[in-house]
């Protein structure tokens, strides 16, 4: 009975829509800024148009590529969608356009995978189903939607759930020997930051790396709780700002800090958000919150439960693979493992013809520097690259009997070592969910506790 009531409280009970409105506006604006930044940096060109080859996500090889003009149009649609979300204009269409265009671009090349891109896709998907345009929105003004002051709690809690997951799992992933006992990789990253103003002089000290490592782990693990609970909320939000500003200054982490600083405001009370709205001149008069509840249909409840279960389970799928997930990276993506390791690799591919003669591949002939860097440590990319090379040389009259690679990877400051079996024919297998036995085992223990 208790569980039932609790579930009711976090799903169907009516609550103020105010936090969701703030979230909608901030998310839309930050996404709009992201798209403009991406465009102005010339990344549409350098990341998606210039490369002759793209790495894909397993299961999404079918995603079609598009002409340069088409791609610019997709980004324009993304920007319009983001603006539409912020303004609450043609909201559902805007959200659908944003989600589809953003996710499409992410699926075009897995090289650029970032956890926060995945987060944006998930939030984009959620927003389609959330009535975030029911207050302080153009849709209300234009009469497309009826103003309402309340919303079923699940609408706000689904966003909170995503945020909690991001932090908490990022924290769990830090509970490993390298992070806690060796202060790795921060012991490598921080000394490179010794030119920072005010705190730069602290960076070369190993102690600093330990303090940052432990503080970072504690922050990630506890910040959701501290944001949820009212007495600590303000302090927690200050910690959010300090933490994300620091990471923004130190690392090339892109828009992630801004997304999180904006998104975590959703934990604040309705009263706080109403004051913020009033400050900006939004006093729209609507009926007060009824504190009733919304009847959720059975299929909807199942869908919601499935989404939650999926989100919780997916990040842990790496436990199905033997060995160290930081090394083999099987089941690594979509797990909120952010800034957790320093890795670099070198992959010398060898295309062997039927007589045993060998072509040593110069990766720069086919890949951009970023693609080469990413491929050199990620086994699924190696398979795709091997297939690409086989096809490329077939076109040039060389029948590849095998495609092999000498790959060396350094991980958290350890001497580079062989990553895959040098005799394994990478073109002989397709990617799949089964364990890649040709990845050489990592012998030290760095597994998650």
């Amino acid at each position: 009975m208790e569980i039932r009531r609790a579930l009711h409280g976090i799903t169907s009970a009516k609550v103020s829509i105010a936090p969701l409105v703030t979230f909608r506006v901030l998310f839309g604006l930050i996404m709009l800024a992201s798209v403009i930044r991406f465009w102005l940096n010339g990344w549409i060109e350098t990341q998606y148009i210039e490369p002759s080859f793209h790495f894909k996500y397993f299961g999404f090889y079918w995603v079609p590529e598009i002409s340069a003009t088409g791609l610019y149009m997709v980004f324009a649609i993304m920007a319009i969608g983001a603006l539409g979300i912020a303004l609450g204009a043609f909201y559902r269409i805007s959200a659908v356009l944003f989600f589809l265009s953003f996710t499409y671009v992410e699926l075009l090349d897995a090289t650029y995978y970032l956890n926060h891109y995945y987060f944006v896709s998930l939030v984009g998907l959620l927003l389609i189903f959330l009535p975030a345009n029911r207050l302080h929105a153009l849709d209300v003004k234009l009469g497309f939607a009826k103003a309402q002051n309340e919303v079923a709690a699940w609408a706000i809690n689904s966003i909170k759930f995503q945020l909690i997951l991001v932090y908490f799992l990022a924290g769990l992933a830090k509970l490993n020997a390298d992070w806690l006992l060796n202060a790795m990789p921060l012991a490598i990253w921080l000394p490179a930051q010794d030119q920072l103003p005010i705190i730069g002089w602290l960076m070369p000290y190993k102690t600093t790396a330990y303090v940052f490592s432990w503080a970072g782990a504690l922050y990630d693990l506890f910040i959701p709780l501290l944001l949820i609970v009212k007495p600590t909320r303000w302090l927690a939000y200050i910690a959010v700002i300090v933490f994300h500003v620091l990471t923004y200054v130190m690392f090339q982490i892109g828009m992630f800090p801004f997304i999180m600083m904006g998104a975590t405001l959703i934990f604040f009370s309705a009263g706080f958000h109403q004051k913020v709205h009033a400050f900006f001149g939004f006093h729209q008069k609507v009926a007060p919150v009824s504190y009733g509840s919304e009847r959720l249909s059975y299929p909807f409840k199942i869908a919601l439960a499935a989404f939650v279960a999926f989100q919780i389970l997916i990040p842990f799928r790496h436990v199905l693979y033997p060995g160290n997930p930081f090394w083999h990276e099987q089941g690594y993506r979509f797990g909120w493992r952010v800034m957790l390791m320093e890795k670099a690799g070198y992959a010398q591919f060898k295309v062997q013809d039927t007589q045993g003669n060998v072509i040593e591949v110069d990766n720069r002939d086919f890949l951009t520097p970023v693609q080469e860097k990413m491929m050199s440590t990620q086994a699924d990319f190696m398979l795709q690259y091997a297939d690409f090379l086989k096809a490329h040389y077939a076109k040039n009259g060389v029948t590849a009997a095998a495609v092999k690679a000498d790959v060396y990877v350094t991980f958290n400051g350890r001497a580079s070592r062989r990553f895959i079996d040098a005799d394994f024919d990478l073109s002989s297998v397709r990617d799949g969910f089964e364990n890649k036995t040709w990845i050489l085992p990592f012998t030290e223990t760095t597994s998650e506790i």
Binding site: N41, W43, Y112, Y113, L114, N115, H116, P185, I188, W189, L190, P191, A192, D194, I199, P204, Y205, T207, T208, V211, A215, L218, Y219, F222, L225, L226, V229, P231, T232, L235, A236, A239, F243, F251, Q252, I253, G254, M255, E329, Y332, V338, M339, M341, E342, K343, A344, G345, Y346, D353, N357, V358, I359, E360, D362, V370, K373, Y408, T410, A415, S416
Partner: protein
């Protein structure tokens, strides 16, 4: 009760956050800060700027030899010109690893030293009295390789005869002028404000001096491994050798050029007498298994140098007659690539690309 637990956790976390800002006096001796600016100053001044200056001075000497040759077209004058051009080409090898900033603006590496030379194109342009060198079709028809071709591709008497041909000589001079002008622009920039800008840009993000250096040292090193040695050895062509693709095939100076290039990259790493990447890695405590990573890299350089020096004849003959020695040199270079491209940047925590990165 619950509330006080939360408060104590908050205090704990904020204490951590605070201690990371103010913190007690550090006790860890490994925290000795390395003076990156001093290293960049040394590399910028004593290695990069000095290299551009050396080749500039040599080109002034070449200019003199050109003048002398124009006055007196003898075999002796031709040989003096040849020697000075060859020396300039050797000195260029020490500038090749620094294709960023002013050099990148001039597209210097591709402009002055793209090989193998498109000899057909050169001959065609000479025939048409076309001395422009900016066209995309001329990308492989210019610079040191073109000068080398015009000076060395035939026996002395024929070269002498050809150079007295107006078009031949004009094409030679157009190439010399282009090389001299571009290198002068870069040399001047390094003598001007760029050198201090370079030394002061001590960050580790993409575009910082350390990032540019690490990136371009690696780029040039891979060119050395692939273009200078690997491709002629048949590494990209199923083992079928491509001796026509070597650098400087007519003067047979390929090996000397490769060695000079290798030494230049090594010196950029060691900083010669003063501070270099080896000292930086030592200050960071960078290890490679039990050894210092810097020692491991220097040993790798020495192994590659020795292997190149073991090749007795010119590169083309060696590839045909003693390929195992060339193979050994290629392997030594290959082993070193891993240390330079993987271990070193990783230990330096340097970003080599501009893209956003969340560290996985």
């Amino acid at each position: 009760m619950l509330r006080s637990i939360f408060f104590s956790v908050v205090i704990l976390v904020s204490a951590f956050q605070l201690s990371s800002c103010k913190g007690p006096e550090p006790v860890d001796p490994s925290g000795e800060s390395f003076d990156k600016e001093a290293m960049l100053q040394n590399i910028g001044e004593n290695i990069i700027s000095a290299s551009y200056d050396a080749v500039s001075q040599k080109l002034t000497e070449v200019e003199g030899k050109i003048g002398e040759f124009e006055l007196e077209q003898t075999e002796a004058k031709l040989n003096a010109l040849r020697t000075s051009v060859m020396e300039a080409h050797l000195l260029w090898q020490a500038c090749s690893p620094f294709e960023f900033g002013p050099a990148a603006e001039q597209n210097l590496r591709l402009s002055v030293n793209t090989f193998p030379l498109d000899t057909a194109r050169v001959n065609q342009k000479i025939g048409q009295a076309d001395y422009s060198l900016d066209g995309t079709q001329d990308a492989a028809a210019k610079g040191f390789p073109a000068m080398e071709f015009l000076l060395f591709s035939e026996e002395d008497s024929i070269v002498l005869q050809q150079l007295q041909n107006e078009n031949h000589w004009a094409y030679f001079k157009a190439n010399f002028d282009m090389v001299q002008t571009k290198i002068a622009v870069v040399n001047d920039a390094w003598k001007g404000t760029y050198r201090s800008d370079f030394a002061q840009n001590t960050g580790s993000s993409a575009g910082s001096s350390i990032s540019l250096l690490v990136n371009q040292l690696n780029y040039d090193f891979e060119l050395l491994k692939n273009a200078k040695i690997g491709i002629p050895l048949g590494k990209k062509t199923l083992g079928i050798t491509q001796t026509d693709k070597i650098e400087a095939p007519f003067s047979k100076q390929s090996l000397a050029l490769a060695s000079a290039n290798l030494v230049a990259i090594k010196e950029a790493f060691t900083g010669k007498e003063s501070q270099g990447f080896d000292d930086y890695l030592d200050a960071l405590g960078a290890k490679y298994n039990q050894n210092d990573l810097s020692d491991e890299i220097i040993a790798g350089f020495e192994e590659a140098e020795t292997a190149l020096n073991q090749i007795a004849t010119d590169l083309a003959s060696a590839i045909e007659n003693e390929p195992s020695k060339v193979e050994t040199a290629h392997t030594a270079l290959q082993n070193l690539v891993v240390l330079l491209k993987v271990d070193m940047p990783s230990q330096l925590g340097v970003q080599i690309t501009y893209q956003d990165n969340d560290g996985d």
